[in-house]
């Protein structure tokens, strides 16, 4: 096909040795390229896209309406006021929303394994993780992020909190760490689907379930549940731990004060574990082909 201008030997120019950083760069680039294609695909159905984004916003807004109704019947829930609960609700929602936007579509991985289209991802020169994460990238998820951000912003203007430098800095750290923890859960759930292709719903327990959990104060729940959310699936670090510090509340498990600042470390650790799970899942797929 290529003519004399491109002699056969030139082909090898595409085949340079690449290291780990190059793989990460390729992955990011591939992710953005593929996500961009999905965005353009959705814009084809403009009305539907607008409707879905608004729907996404409304869905979570109704969630908050329920919280508001609850606080219409009581001034405090588990010792927390509406404003304080809104702070938890908003931070958890933003964290989940960011993770959902970035890697949330990975829950469709089992379907790809079942119908065999997983193979088409494996023959492209882009890391499979990046392709799976960008698969069906949905900008409509900005609806959830926006709604949660509005609630978070509203709560912050009304909280009676000393906005010291530490507290101010802790907010973005909390949101990003929370997004990282949720992203790790999404990834682990997707990796699990390499083995159990039908089990997409399990991860909802930890993603949307985790969101439902952390949008309420920890004092609402049984101690064992809080322990599980701290030491087993560390959802407590999405927002509870840093938020309790900001709100000046006692740690529900009486953990030492430095734990409040551990969210970034916990996020890094669970992301690393999720990466291992992903690699194990992919390896299993490549040895069994199903």
């Amino acid at each position: 096909m290529a003519d004399a201008e491109y002699p056969v030997g030139r082909r090898t120019a595409l085949f340079e040795p690449r290291g780990r950083t190059a793989a990460v760069r390729d992955g990011l680039r591939g992710y953005l390229l593929i996500a961009g294609m999905w965005v353009r695909s959705t814009v084809v159905y403009r009305t539907s896209f607008v409707l879905m984004t608004l729907g996404n916003f409304a869905m979570t807004a109704l969630d908050f309406a329920a919280v508001a109704i609850i606080f219409g019947h009581t001034r405090v829930l588990g010792g927390f006021t509406l404003t304080e609960t809104a702070f938890l609700y908003g931070s958890s929602g933003v964290a989940l929303g960011l993770a959902d936007l970035a890697v949330g579509s990975m829950d469709g991985l089992g379907r790809r394994v079942r119908d065999g289209t997983m193979d088409t991802l494996l023959v492209r020169p882009v890391p499979v993780f990046a392709q799976a994460a960008a698969d069906r990238f949905a900008l409509r998820r900005l609806g959830r992020i926006t709604q949660a951000a509005v609630v978070l912003g509203w709560s912050m203007t009304r909280l009676h909190v000393a906005w010291t430098a530490v507290n101010v800095l802790l907010v973005p750290v909390m949101l990003l760490s929370g997004a990282g923890i949720f992203a790790a859960v999404f990834t682990t759930g997707a990796a699990f689907q390499f083995w159990a292709t039908d089990a997409a719903e399990v991860q909802n327990s930890f993603t949307y379930g985790g969101n439902a959990l952390t949008q309420y104060p920890p004092t609402v729940f049984a101690k064992d549940l809080v322990r599980g959310a701290t030491f087993v699936v560390p959802l407590a670090f999405v927002n509870w731990m840093p938020a309790l510090h900001i709100l000046g509340r006692d740690n529900p498990l009486r953990l030492p004060g430095w734990v409040d600042f551990c969210s970034p470390l916990v996020a890094l650790a669970v992301c690393a574990l999720a990466g291992l799970a992903w690699r194990a899942g992919l390896r299993s797929y490549r040895s069994t082909g199903s």
Binding site: Y45, T47, L51, L77, G209, L213, V220, F221
Partner: protein, 266 residues
């Protein structure tokens, strides 16, 4: 009639094949049940008798919601996506030439699905809950019977609504938006987020009168024995009334849509 029974059995079997998916769903229902049950416990401990429920009532309400979530398809996930797809691709024209009524055919299949979900997704979360929480079980057999009838009517109303929504894709290019809106209304106005008796003032009155309440609020109240004597019959009549109205509307819309298909040739 035999045809529709066969369709219903097929609907049941179709969902029964996905064992892992069912177990995954049961797990998720149970996790959500726990989380919501704790928040309700916190609320009812400061406001006992809120909405006319005591604490075991409120907690039972939560678990009934998880048990019926799939049965009355509050989050969708029934036949409607398939019907929308068939309308979009034009395959629905083939369905119209079948020697079966389009609405009854889908209804039978959805009843099969609902029956499976009631057993496969409803029983286990309730069983798990009864280990940890004190639930308010019906004392009399008649209440159980009434509850099952009420769930059946709830499925009927749920079907009728989703059928109407799916038919809109004869006119709208993309059915996804309408389906999402339907899900939104169903979760909020069925009592899934909060019992409708807790909704304040006019919002509560409105929510209890809307058809979505037939999908969870009414069956749950029957289960909890809040309707006594003739009250129970009135509750069922409320559901049946909405079912009749909505199924009738579905028929009407279906005939308009069919005419459109015949005229345009698909």
């Amino acid at each position: 009639m035999r045809l529709y029974a066969a369709v219903a059995v097929r609907g049941f079997r179709r969902y029964a094949t996905y064992r892992v998916a069912t177990l995954a769903g049961v797990f998720t229902n149970t996790v959500f049940g726990f989380i919501v049950a704790y928040t309700f416990t916190a609320l009812w401990s400061v406001r006992p008798r809120l909405g006319g429920y005591d604490l075991p009532h409120a907690v039972t309400f939560v678990w009934l919601g998880q048990a019926l979530l799939m049965t009355t398809a509050l989050l969708g996930g029934g036949f409607e996506t398939e019907l929308v797809e068939r309308i979009r691709s034009g395959d629905v024209a083939i369905d119209l030439y079948r020697p079966a009524d389009l609405q009854l055919w889908w209804l039978a299949s959805d009843f099969g699905r609902a029956a499976f979900h009631l057993i496969g997704r409803g029983v286990l979360p309730m069983a798990a809950a009864s280990v940890v929480f004190r639930l308010a079980w019906p004392a009399e057999v008649s209440t159980w019977v009434c509850f099952l009838v009420s769930v059946g009517l709830g499925v009927l109303v749920s079907f009728a609504i989703r059928y109407l929504v799916a038919l809109t894709s004869f006119w709208l290019l993309d059915g996804a938006g309408a389906l999402l809106l339907a899900t939104l209304l169903a979760t909020f106005f069925s009592g899934m987020v909060l019992p409708l008796t807790v909704f304040p003032g006019w919002l509560g009155t409105l929510a209890r009168a809307l058809p979505w309440s037939a999908q969870l609020q009414v069956p749950a109240d029957v289960f909890l024995g809040r309707h006594r004597g003739t009250g129970e019959l009135w509750a069922l009549a409320f559901q049946a009334g909405w079912a009749a109205v909505l199924l009738g509307a579905g028929r009407l819309l279906q005939s308009v849509a069919t005419r459109k298909v015949v005229v345009q040739g698909g």
